[in-house]
């Protein structure tokens, strides 16, 4: 899974700590997702979609083989 989280965060001038507070998760979780070491739950994905006003599939991009 690829993620555009870092790019979207830069677009909205948010640091990891600020995003973590908005998404009600720890900064470690944001860092983990950005490093593409962890696929977030649907709940976190939905929160991210709401924060960045983007559909989930524009934030988290899966390869065809993964689906």
């Amino acid at each position: 899974m690829k993620t555009r989280l870092r790019e979207l965060r830069a677009r909205d001038s948010l640091n990891q700590t600020q995003l973590s507070k908005l998404a009600k998760v720890s900064r470690q979780t944001i860092s983990l997702i950005e490093r593409e070491e962890y696929i977030p739950s649907l709940l976190i994905a939905k929160r991210m979609a709401k924060i960045f006003n983007e559909p989930i599939e524009n934030i988290f991009i899966f390869d065809e083989e993964e689906l």
Partner: protein, 230 residues
């Protein structure tokens, strides 16, 4: 920290290898020499434990000072990385001295040469225990917003998991699994080493072998019990 753990592991392996070589070469005649080696080894352990405790104390104090400083000129993300890593360092730098001072105490008490050194080591054990307890409590100071349990809480593990989010649980699970695998492997090699030691030195290590074997079995059973299909 990785470097420190590596060094400690190499030191333990080196000591075990050297000890077995001495026993092989000199057998019973090396008794006096080994006592001297044990004595100095315990001194090194005491010095190392004390140095680590001082280091942990300084890092802890600096972290608390920075956490309480509302005007610190550090980026939020950088500060969170700093406090998270410092917490880890302080935890290790207080846990290692506890083990080192206990080992030193065992050597000093068995040798019974200097009551002062025994007393000093007992003090070191208590200081290590106190600082280890304080290090665990540090998490509540650096993350005051989180509803983290007190270290003395009976259901600490359950409450810690409940207060952690999915990313944190993922990190903990991965780290715990890796350290559990490492511990199991090292216990297995310790068992082999003790069997060889018993044969070479003709000093029975059966008690320790049985204890380590039981720990390995209980640990395996506990893991299987925890991950079973409910």
């Amino acid at each position: 920290m990785k470097f420190l753990l590596k060094m400690l592991l190499y030191a333990a392996i080196g000591f075990a290898a050297g000890y077995l070589t001495l026993e092989l070469l000199y057998g019973r005649n090396s008794e006096g020499l080994l006592e001297t080696i044990y004595f100095w080894l315990s001194i090194v352990m005491i010095v190392l434990a004390a140095a680590l405790l001082v280091y942990a104390f300084i890092r802890r104090k600096k972290l608390i000072k920075m956490t309480k400083d509302n005007n610190r000129k550090v980026d939020d993300d950088d500060f969170d990385v700093y406090s998270y890593n410092t917490f880890n360092v302080v935890t290790v730098a207080t846990a290692v001295p506890l083990v080192l001072s206990l080992m030193a105490l065992a050597i000093q008490a068995l040798a019974a040469e200097s009551p002062w050194l025994v007393a000093l080591t007992i003090v070191l054990v208590f200081v290590s225990m106190f600082m280890s307890f304080q290090a665990s409590a540090l998490v509540n100071i650096i993350y005051p917003d989180k509803d983290l349990p007190e270290i003395s809480d009976k259901n600490y593990a359950e409450k810690l998991f409940a207060a952690s989010d999915e990313g944190e649980i993922f990190i903990m699970a991965k780290a715990l699994y890796r350290s559990w695998t490492l511990t199991s492997t090292m216990l297995f090699f310790a068992l082999i080493l003790m069997i060889f030691y018993s044969f070479i030195t003709e000093e029975s290590q059966i008690f320790s072998i049985v204890i380590i074997g039981l720990i390995m079995i209980i640990s395996q059973l506990k893991y299987a019990y925890e991950i079973r299909e409910k």
